[in-house]
């Protein structure tokens, strides 16, 4: 008996050694090859990649061989303990140890799979296919387990008012854990009648849906319901919501069910696969791809006038069809007139949001899209570090990652002014990195955002027609209306970028040139001359426009420096000179400017600035042009005039001229305290060329 036992043990150890020894030999060989390359200065990237693959293979084989042995030993020990407990009649302990045996055996099987198939196939370059398979199989096997305690798989009675847990036209299958809002989340299947009804409305119906339900009877509050319901129409256009229902005491909406893992789980898996030295090769590409998908989806949100407001890894699902953004609990229309709230998740929420919310700023007075961009930067940080940005925008990178990618994170999490202007801009940087031959050698200065070669964000109507695409695919599949996530089609932005020659670098040497040198190289002498000529012309126009618009307002037709980014025709469209709409978006006015010359006669204007002499001179010119400076308006009481001037001064404070927060403060102050004002001229010291006009409301056109 002992001999047989000894023989089995010997065989076992021989088998193990048969696995370990080759792994060690391969590892030594790889190190030797690496050494030879280093000695002879062979720096070929392909060889290094090959070497890296071999290293990973050897390391993986060794790790898994050791894990297999330790797993077997642990399983045997747990089995012995389990059997002992049977003899001791300790039922609970027996179950515990046998469960441990099962777990260990599963781990051993996984190790064996990787030793026999996983690592060798990855070494042969079949990693992506294998990863896909490995992700799908557990999902497929885990699928039924999710519904171990299914609800009644029969249609609910067709009642107009639903009791909690019953929804007309849906069969509830199970419940998901409730989120922070306290709503109940049900997984359900549409009945054939409901599916047909939805199809008739032009909506593709997924097999499973999630129903988020609020009920006053189950503890939901009215403000929760109001908050959740305010962005549903736009969310419907994005394919995020199939339908919703509201009655006296309850409210629910139906979303497509997204299968997959949350992004934090995905990040953990990627890092487990790559090891402690940061994400490598395929894993790094995957992480960049997820970040790119996220920014594309956000661009779509923003173009539909929506702000997600709670971008974080646990609200992002990575499924077989790509990345999906879930949880619409905080989705807010960008143009909402409501006051900002501090909702969101710490570490993924820009502290500036809290600051502005405490000031009582309205949603439409800030660029909410930029807060989503901050969140996506924090998410990319999490992907690269497998940890959250505990130090906000000052968070340190502790694991190796490409410096250009670190730059993208920082730019996304930078101060509002320096941050990416649009999610599409971040997408372009990520696209560039995804296409780079070697992402590690790309410098931040090569990125489109740094070079100033960003293609303009796509113009998408805020009132796009209802989508007829499948909601499930619309979130990340090939049919994604504006930004495809397909492997070859990189959407109109990227296509435009390629057409304009904004591809990733192909010449190694080009990376080492300075930015100016590279620009010069691209331009050529004739282009440079033409640009210089255009520059001179612009300066001439600039000076002329400045003199006319501020010293002789109402005379000039030339664009002034105070009309940066706003052409005359745009001004007409916005109602300053042509047929105006009833109200001009204040959001535009915070970031854009217009000319005094475009204001109608007798517009009431407050001049505010640190230099009294300049303010006095400008007031005189304003007065000559038929406009009305507050200081000259006899109809206003002296107290009102004093209060306004002092109020604007307080809001302006010591802020730098370009400080957008000060502009936001001014606008907010004017709305409450000086609604009669038509415009405010903010003087930047003596430098009148930097003077800005904040127009608070549309002036009636001359035709009115």
């Amino acid at each position: 008996m002992n001999v047989i036992g000894g023989g089995i043990l010997l065989l076992f150890f021989m088998a193990v050694m048969a696995v370990i020894l080759p792994a060690i030999l391969i590892w030594i060989a790889v190190r030797l090859v690496g050494l030879v390359f280093r000695i002879f200065g062979i720096g070929n990237r392909t060889l290094r990649h090959g070497g890296g693959n071999l290293m990973r293979f050897a390391k993986g084989m060794l790790n898994d061989a050791l894990s297999l042995v330790s797993g077997l030993v642990a399983a045997i020990l747990a089995l012995v303990l389990g059997l002992t407990n049977i003899l001791l009649l300790r039922g609970r302990a027996v179950r515990h140890y046998f469960a441990a045996v099962e777990d260990e055996l599963v781990a051993v099987m996984q190790c064996a799979y990787r030793l026999i198939l996983g690592h060798p196939l990855r070494l042969l370059g079949m990693g992506p296919a294998l990863t896909n398979l490995e992700e799908r199989m557990p999902q497929m096997m885990a699928g039924p387990r999710k519904f171990e305690t299914p609800g009644p798989d029969v249609p609910m009675p067709q009642t107009a008012s639903n009791t909690p847990g019953e929804f007309e036209g849906y069969r509830v299958l199970s419940q998901l854990p409730p989120g922070g809002s306290g709503a109940l989340l049900h997984v359900a299947r549409p009945t054939p009648e409901k599916a047909s009804e939805l199809r008739d409305k032009g909506v593709s119906v997924p097999e499973r849906v999630v129903i988020k339900a609020f009920s006053l009877e189950t503890g939901s509050t009215l403000p929760q319901i109001v908050r959740e319901s305010r962005a549903l129409e736009a969310a419907g256009r994005l394919g995020l919501v199939l339908e919703h229902h509201l009655d006296e005491s309850s409210f629910h909406y139906v979303m497509p069910f997204m299968a997959g893992d949350t992004l934090d789980v995905t990040a953990r898996r990627l890092h487990e696969h790559s090891g402690d030295d940061g994400l490598q090769h395929g894993d790094l590409q995957d992480a960049m791809g997820h970040a790119r998908d996220l920014t594309r989806i956000l661009a779509r949100f923003h173009s539909e006038g929506l702000w997600h407001k709670d971008i974080k890894p646990t609200n992002l699902i990575v499924g077989p069809t790509g990345l999906h953004v879930v949880d619409l609990g905080l989705v807010t229309p960008l143009a909402s007139a409501m006051t900002l709230t501090t909702h969101g998740t710490e570490y993924y929420r820009d502290p500036e949001l809290v600051r502005l919310a405490m000031k009582g700023v309205k949603v439409h007075q800030v660029d909410g899209a930029k807060f989503d961009i901050y969140g996506s930067g924090a998410v990319l940080y999490t992907l690269l570090e497998n940890s959250f940005p505990a130090h906000g925008s000052l968070s340190r990178f502790n694991r190796p990652s490409p410096k250009a990618l670190q730059f993208v994170v920082r730019k996304a999490m930078a101060d509002m002014d320096s941050r990416y202007g649009a999610a599409a801009h971040m997408t372009q940087d990520l696209e560039y990195l995804l296409k780079a031959e070697d992402v590690w050698s790309v410098q931040p200065a090569d990125l489109p955002s740094y070079r100033g070669t960003l293609a303009p964000p796509m113009e998408v109507s805020h009132r796009a027609p209802a989508t007829t695409k499948a909601p499930y695919r619309a979130m990340g599949g090939d049919d994604w209306a504006a930004v495809s996530t397909g492997p070859d089609d990189h959407g109109p932005v990227t296509r435009a970028a390629h057409a304009a020659g904004w591809g990733p670098p192909t010449l190694q040497g080009q990376r080492h040139l300075g930015r100016t040198a590279r620009r010069r190289k691209r331009r050529g002498p004739f282009k440079a001359l033409a640009l210089a000529g255009m520059g001179l012309l612009s300066i001439t126009f600039y000076r002329a426009a400045f003199t006319n618009s501020f010293h002789n307002p109402g005379v000039s037709d030339t664009a002034s420096p105070a009309s940066l980014g706003t052409s005359r025709s745009e001004g007409r469209e916005r109602g300053f000179a042509g047929n105006p709409p009833d109200e001009v978006s204040e959001l535009d006015l915070i970031v854009k400017t217009t000319r005094l010359s475009e204001l109608p006669p007798q517009s009431l204007i407050l001049v505010s600035g640190p230099n009294k002499a300049s303010a006095h001179a400008l007031r005189q010119n304003i007065s000559k042009a038929g406009l009305m400076p507050v200081a000259n308006d006899a109809s206003l009481s002296s107290e009102t005039r004093r209060n306004w001037i002092a109020g604007a001064q307080v809001q302006r404070g010591d802020s730098a001229y370009s400080d957008p927060a000060a502009r936001v403060r001014l606008i907010a102050w004017q709305k409450v305290n000086a609604p009669e004002l038509d415009a405010l001229v903010w003087l930047a010291g003596d430098d009148l060329s930097r003077t800005e006009v904040l127009v608070f409301k549309a002036a009636p056109s001359s035709e009115d």
């Binding site: 000031k359 940890s387 130090h391 906000g392 340190r396 320096s418 300075g514």
Partner: protein
Amino acid sequence: MHDLTTRFVGRLRARDPQAWFELWETFGPILRAQLARWGRGRIGPETVADLSQETLTALSTAIDRHDPSKGARFSTWLLAIAKYTLSDEMDKRYAQKRGGGIKPLSLSPQDDDGPRLDVEGGERPDQEYEAQVFEAKVDAALRQVERSAGFEDFEAFRQRVLEGKGGRSVAAALGTSEATISRRAGRVRDALRGALSDVFSKYSFTEEDWDELPRNGLELNPKKGQDASFDEALAEVWLRASRRRQQKGRS
């Protein structure tokens, strides 16, 4: 006491939400960590989050009575409030259990009616806490400069000084010359010295608070050639703060 301190405390007394936000943004994480440490095993993380909000509320009522010129360090003052809030909470819980209550600890050291916090509480500010408060002040100054400096300037400073990368490598990364990087980093360094002075003026009640700057190698009025040692000291503080935050976040 510095004029700016008086003004800042004045703003707090006037319930200026911006001043409160600044205080919360800068010291909120430390208060949370400290309360979690004291309350370990007795209160959960969510209560700690609530408590740290309450701490600021307690501050807002206590600040009218408290005279910062009486000699307590800022960190001690902040800790006293936190301690008060926690003890109050614990007292409430015990009172609920026993059906009676005990008098909460007195907030003001001058108030003879109640026990003195720093004595009775037995929880004096320890070295780690003091270090955290110092790092939080440096952090606030860095954020202030990050907001005001241009992105490219701060990026040059971050890579060159905070991350300690070579001038050539940073120049290549940002597509410019080493001289430009040096100039940008210098600009941010100067701005940071100003911001440090500003932040320490707000959150320092005593000379001891101020002495922490030179003690940690952050000389605000440098002699020629002291920039390198300032940079090294700053990078050290930043690294320490980053690690501590990461650990705190995990725990």
